[in-house]
């Protein structure tokens, strides 16, 4: 099982990956720039994402907005920014492949001549509204910001969320856009995947024609990552928010994406909180009814990961009760390991998840996005089978070991989010934090 592909690197350094899938007369164009909020600096947060917005506002040779010709051609398109990378994609009918390549290559090569103060000011307002909609006006919306700030030191590239601080977004300047574009939006820092109803040879030729003329640029400066000293004692924080039910976030540092123990911790998350048979759902929601919901995840990123458990208290139950129950569940897993039944279920689910991801050529998480992820993060677009092998190789003993090694009580960050004026509902000993 894999995603067959061809890779060709253009003279300017742009990687071109092609995967044929003739099931449906569509092609996915997926372009990754290896830049994200980790490339920002304190005081300038949110910029990589604001920049992504400007990529949709037109470029030198088609300066009437990015969406119009593509939506008229039947394309679905979008982009996203996270800490590590920014991606842009179109899924087009086969006859619009050249159009999509023309548009993507024009904004890669010729964005700045079309940039204006008006566009910049408009998209800054749009991004501030995105922040209001998805964080400020949403219950528990500030939790992520408080947690990142607690997990990482001030100069660490993961210390802030990709959306950034509102005051930083307001302070962003159009000159920063120019510098950012010249540093990061170069063919050498990008990876282009084409997947769908195309012939490889023709796809490579087209990619070369549209992108080959662009200057490669230099390698961007490396990201400075300060060492994070292991936490010697847990941190307890409380955030007041417009919420009805208190919620507890438990977070730990964890391995980076594809690093040792990453897949094991993914399965730990699965065993603890995925589906009704998971340990925490069964005890906290199903049997004891202490919680209304529980989730766990291993969020692995390029430089480092974090493991997180999120649990919401049922009315009348306390976060202290939940914290104790979760500590016990982790303890049991670390001491006794998973059951054979749990291993069978989690590994079958992992395999199915890999196959489910093979169903679509484009969009977030489709085959083209996957090829780029492997190419950018491990330098091998053909990593699919090895990636799946990481999950096949997990043993009960290795699950037990990572639970013991990574999920220690003294290295946790515990954030209580409680209704306004009810800091008494937080875990005992929590320090107030403010986020805005």
């Amino acid at each position: 099982m894999n995603i067959p592909y061809t890779r060709q690197t253009l003279d300017n350094g742009l990687d071109v990956l092609v995967h044929e899938d003739h099931g449906c007369p569509i092609v996915a164009v997926n372009l990754w720039y290896h830049v994200g909020s980790k490339n920002e600096t304190p005081g300038r947060t949110g910029f990589a994402h604001l920049f992504e917005h400007l990529m949709f506002e037109g470029s030198q040779h088609y300066d009437k907005g990015y969406f119009h010709p593509l939506q008229e051609a039947g394309a679905l398109l979008n982009g996203s920014t996270n800490a590590d990378r920014t991606n842009y994609w179109e899924v087009v009918p086969t006859n619009a492949l050249e159009l999509a390549l023309w548009m993507e290559s024009d904004r890669m090569g010729y964005l700045l001549p079309a940039l204006t103060d008006a566009k910049f000011a408009n998209q800054r307002d749009v991004v501030l509204n995105e922040r209001r909609q998805n964080y400020e006006n949403r219950p528990y919306g500030f939790a992520g910001m408080a947690i990142m700030a607690a997990l990482y030191p001030a100069d660490h590239p993961y210390q802030w969320m990709t959306i950034g601080a509102a005051e930083d977004i307001r302070a962003a300047h159009i000159d920063d856009v120019r510098a950012f574009f010249q540093t990061y939006y170069r063919p050498r820092n990008a990876s282009l995947a084409l997947a769908g109803d195309i012939e490889t040879e023709q796809a490579v030729e087209l990619a070369g024609r549209y992108f080959g003329e662009l200057e490669g640029g230099h390698e961007p400066p490396p990201v400075q990552v300060p060492t994070v000293a292991p936490f010697l004692s847990e941190r307890r924080l409380v955030l007041e928010d417009r919420v009805e039910l208190p919620r507890l976030y438990l977070s730990w540092h964890s391995p980076a994406i594809f690093a040792a123990d990453d897949a094991e911790l993914d399965l730990v998350a699965e065993i603890l909180a995925s589906g009704k048979t998971s340990r925490l759902y069964r005890t906290l929601v199903y049997q004891e009814r202490l919680a209304t919901e529980v989730a766990a995840s291993q969020s692995s990123r390029e430089l480092a990961g974090y493991f997180q458990i999120i649990v919401t208290a049922a009315p009348g139950r306390t976060l202290d009760e939940l914290e104790r129950a979760i500590a016990v569940a982790i303890d049991v897993l670390a001491n006794e390991g998973p059951t054979p039944q749990e291993m069978e279920r989690c590994q079958a689910q992992a395999e199915a998840n890999f196959i489910f991801r093979l169903q679509t050529v484009g969009g977030f998480g489709g085959k083209s996005d996957q090829l780029n992820a492997y190419n950018v993060f491990v330098g091998d677009p053909g990593f699919f089978e090895r990636d799946l092998d990481r999950y096949r190789r997990v043993t009960p003993a290795s699950v037990q070991r990572v639970a013991r090694e990574w999920l220690q009580p003294e290295s946790r960050v515990l954030l209580s989010v409680v209704p306004r004026g009810r800091s008494d509902l937080a875990l005992a000993g929590s320090q107030p934090v403010t986020v805005s």
Binding site: D21, T94, L245, N353, T360
Partner: protein
Amino acid sequence: MRVDRARLPALGADPSLRFPEIQRRTLSNGLRVWTIEHHAVPLVSFLALVPVGASADPLERPGLAAITSDMLDEGCGDLDAMALHDTLGRIGGHLDSEIGSDATILTLSSLGRFADRASALLADMVMHPRLEAPDFQRVRELRLNRLIQLRDLAPALADRAFARLLYRDHPYGHTPLGTEESLQAVTLADVRAFHGGMFTPSQATVIAAGDATHDALAASVEAAFGRWSTTGDGKPPDPSLWPLPEPPEERIALVNRPAAAQSELRIGHIGVPRHTPDYHALLVLNIVLGGQFVSRINMNLREDKGYTYGARTSFDFRRGPGPFALSASVQSDVTIDAVSEALNELHAIRGDRPVTAEELQTGRAALTRGYPRNFETAEQISRGAAQLALYDLPDDYFSTFVPRILAVDEKTVTNAAERYIDPARFVTVIVGDREKVSPEIARLNMGAPAELTSI
């Protein structure tokens, strides 16, 4: 060859799309079984469509259909909830359950080699859910807690208030979750009676799609669902029999959310049923007005004014007339400016600034050229087919979609706008900070807002 940057590359002819063949059979118990072969990946998907949704809730029991559907995976046949979910996990199953106004849809996808097991599990959930007291108590409690949490979610508040104002006691006047009062009062006997009366093979459709032959898929469904029999007639309510309420007295309503960073907006009125002969014209109208990024509403409120992260309109086509609504979440201090701009756009497309030839071309092309994307995965195709089953659409529906869209002209769109967008009936709901919004509402000349407190 150097790229010609002076003009965009021509598209050339649109690719032809071969629509997936749907084989249709009916079992002796009346169950319709549709199969679709799709061999791209070793997966199968089984979709059970029961044409009973939240609109089938008794007037005094809003939420009954949804809590019933929620109970289906709490144990079935020989398996209690834990055993059922353990089994689902071990076949790599993905279970999805959704309830809308008109239907309950359960979809179970799994690795192809477990097709028979998946089909049997789905059948057990639909036919023989255990519906036991401890599970019911827990599920009800969780749904009540969900209601509590929604008090702080502005979009949920806006949706509930909007449905209530538009439809009142009409079956579309509540969201599937129901109300606290109703959930407190509902009993396990209600759920059992609802399931027994409404879940019947003669009204349901099972759609099997994936990496197997038509015959194998059909055999799998028949083995699992063949012995389904019930006493109820499961006839879903007929929406054409429901009288529509008059537009409310309140033209504008406010749900106060002190210090909210944004105001959540809904503007619209009762729309049209799925069966309208103007369906395709309305799709074109909507995509120009607020149905995609380059639509008028989004270009105005987002790309020109920067008031919002995004704004859109939609006709919610149901068996009966669903709502037509404009939705957006806008910066608090420009709330009334945003409402004014939105109202201007809704007015203008009816005649002052009718759809232009260029807009028509863009909108039609987006719909027709984008159509192949809906046929990529087995589950997408099943969901498309489920629409045919639910709304009794003709067998050639997929293959006639593109020509019908292309047949819509400017005049048809403007006529549709005039006829189906009626500013005189608009209701505007604002979930936002009263202190910021109220002083400016007078500018809209809609009278004083009704303040809604319990939603």
